[in-house]
Amino acid sequence: MDLKQLCEMNAVSGFEQSLRRAILAEVSQYEGVKAEIDRMGNVVCRKKSSIEAAKHVLVTANMDECGFMVSSATKEGFLRIMPIGKLDSRMAVSKRIVIGEKKLSAVIGSKPIHLQSQDERKRALSFKEIYADIGAKSEEEALQHAPRGSWCAFDTDFMTFGQGFVSGKALSARAGVYNLLRLLSSSVKADVTAVFTTLHNAGCRGASVVSFSCKPDYAIVLSACLCNDLGNERETTQVSRMGEGVSINFMDKGAISSRKLFRDTCTLAESSNIPHQIERGLSPSSDAGAIQNTGYPLSVVTLSVPCRNMNSPCEVMKNEDIDSQLRLTINLIDNL
């Protein structure tokens, strides 16, 4: 599966079934990989090392993307939706979405600016004031096609643009999934447990059970990080920069990376000439906190790909940064 196919699949937090099945089908073709699904819906894959007396490394990436859920319908037939994950209501308006397994098309709308009062123009509309339009004419008709609890995902095509840039929805999750699949299909010098986690956007819940089922020597979390390098931001609040390589994280709101593992990772990236940067900001909790601190303590480091417009229908990454994340992961596993 390539990155385009992965991004165009729909797997909103809590509804990762189709991606789970696709991953299982894919890894069944890889040599020496055993896969199973745990009770949180994580896909847990194990691959043996190519050399004897190897270490055991846990590598994770989350599958799920942000999206919406249908909560009710108005009598005129418009659906009320609530966000799943951290979504900015300001960027939801006028976006195309698909709803449910039947992939019903819909458009998110609100009162047009022409009719908004001065006050309304100044503030962002909340999710209570926007709606999804599926072309229904009544509450019954709307809920018949899109029952309460249906998931909604952004409807965006994947695209490549500029010099090696890619854009699509769910890139912040699927780049990690893509790299984890590529890792499983290569030969590595350690025993690897690769876990594709669920419910990252709902509080890293899939990741919170992972450490109970394996006791690795250390863990690598593949993630995406904020990239605030457009516009007038001063350098010290940019967090990361596009094209400068995989971002190594010393701390986020959920976990402080093990000092030694963090320093060793930086040293290894330097000596192997892998483009890398140090993340310059305190990102929200990643799966690292959940993995480090729910069972036996683990040494964890997070490797992130810089991502512009995170949690939007058009996330942007650079191919070379995605590749650097994979290169550094393999290098760590083979050498640490």
Partner: protein, 326 residues
């Protein structure tokens, strides 16, 4: 006690990088315990086995970490931009002497602004005149703390930026040195990362599965001009915590501790804190849950560079632990 306190408060150990504190403590307690280990979170865990093989496993936890400033970036003129690790009020961070674990010293200041200063206005001057020079001295991700400065005030009180929670570490260390043989097994955890959510203690409690947990931490005071709550007074004895926002102490364990203090004429106070939490909150919910209580050392100006405790409260805490643990 003062010398032990001075040694442990002088070690530089920010949240996330507590190694030097663990070293200082281990040098004091190693000869007195049966086993000691440092786990993946950096916790220093010392075990003193009890004579009774069916005895209780009692976990004690005091945290080694100290709130700090993590280097996020560096301006081209050599000033370090920071974020806080743990709960720091910006006002406490203006114009202070700070130090990094590698020995580099600096001064942290806030940009002069019309509005209230925020964390993004803070910067540390380490004497470098360019980014290149600064990055030779420290690295992104290094964490600075208020510089150690331990001194006596009068006969009984001691001030230091790190009383939270090194005075408890000193108490716990002194307990290990003087406890002698007991029936029950004591698992003394010197924990990490308490200031960001009791992470070290959570891991230790999961790994060792104790029967009960006693956290030792500092608490606020109500005996200075203007501060009447909580109703805690320095020098009136160790505080037995009824509740804070992190945990409600197990009532039976709490009363056992109070009764033990009364029966042995050990001064104590009951404490209720309408905010905050200790390692007890993490120990209480480990695995299937265990009874917990916190013993608190009354402390003034918590999370400032001048935290003040009374050594008489430390002594009463030590006596209580010695009498309570059989």
């Amino acid at each position: 006690m003062y010398d032990l306190l001075k040694k442990i408060t002088s070690a530089v150990g920010p949240t996330g990088e507590e190694g030097k504190v663990a070293e200082a403590i281990l040098s004091e307690v190693a000869p007195f315990v049966d086993e000691h280990t440092i786990d993946a979170m950096g916790n220093l865990i010392c075990v003193k086995k009890g004579k009774n093989p069916d005895g209780k496993k009692i976990m004690l936890s005091s945290h080694m970490d100290h709130i700090g400033f993590i280097v996020m970036d560096c301006e081209k003129e050599g000033y370090l931009r920071v974020a806080c690790v743990g709960g720091i009020h910006v006002e406490q961070a203006k114009n202070r002497h700070v130090i990094f674990p590698n020995g580099v010293e600096g001064v942290i200041s806030a940009e002069v602004t019309e509005k209230k200063p925020a964390f993004t206005d803070l910067y540390i001057d380490i004497g470098a005149e360019s980014r290149e020079e600064a990055m030779r001295l420290v690295k992104l991700g290094d964490i600075a703390v208020f510089a150690p400065d331990c001194y006596r005030i009068g006969e009984n009180r001691v001030a230091s930026p790190a009383m939270d929670d090194r005075c408890a570490c000193a108490l716990q260390a002194r307990f290990l040195q003087t406890m002698g043989e007991k029936e029950d097994t004591v698992i003394a955890v010197f924990s990490t990362q308490e200031e960001v959510g009791c992470r070290g203690a959570r891991a230790a409690a999961f790994a060792y599965e104790p029967d009960m947990g006693i956290a030792i931490d500092v608490t606020a005071n109500g005996d200075t001009p203007g501060d009447k709550f909580p109703a805690i007074t320095l020098g009136k004895g160790i505080a037995v915590k009824v509740m804070d926002r992190g945990s409600i102490s197990n009532p039976a364990l709490r009363e056992d501790l109070c009764r033990c203090a009364e029966e042995n004429n050990i001064p104590y106070q009951r404490e209720i804190l309408p905010f905050g939490g200790t390692d007890a909150s993490a120990m209480q919910l480990a695995r299937g849950g265990i009874p917990v209580c916190t013993l608190s050392l009354p402390c003034r100006n918590v999370h400032s560079p001048v935290e003040v405790i009374d050594m008489r409260d430390m002594d009463s805490g030590l006596r209580l632990l010695r009498c309570f643990i059989k």
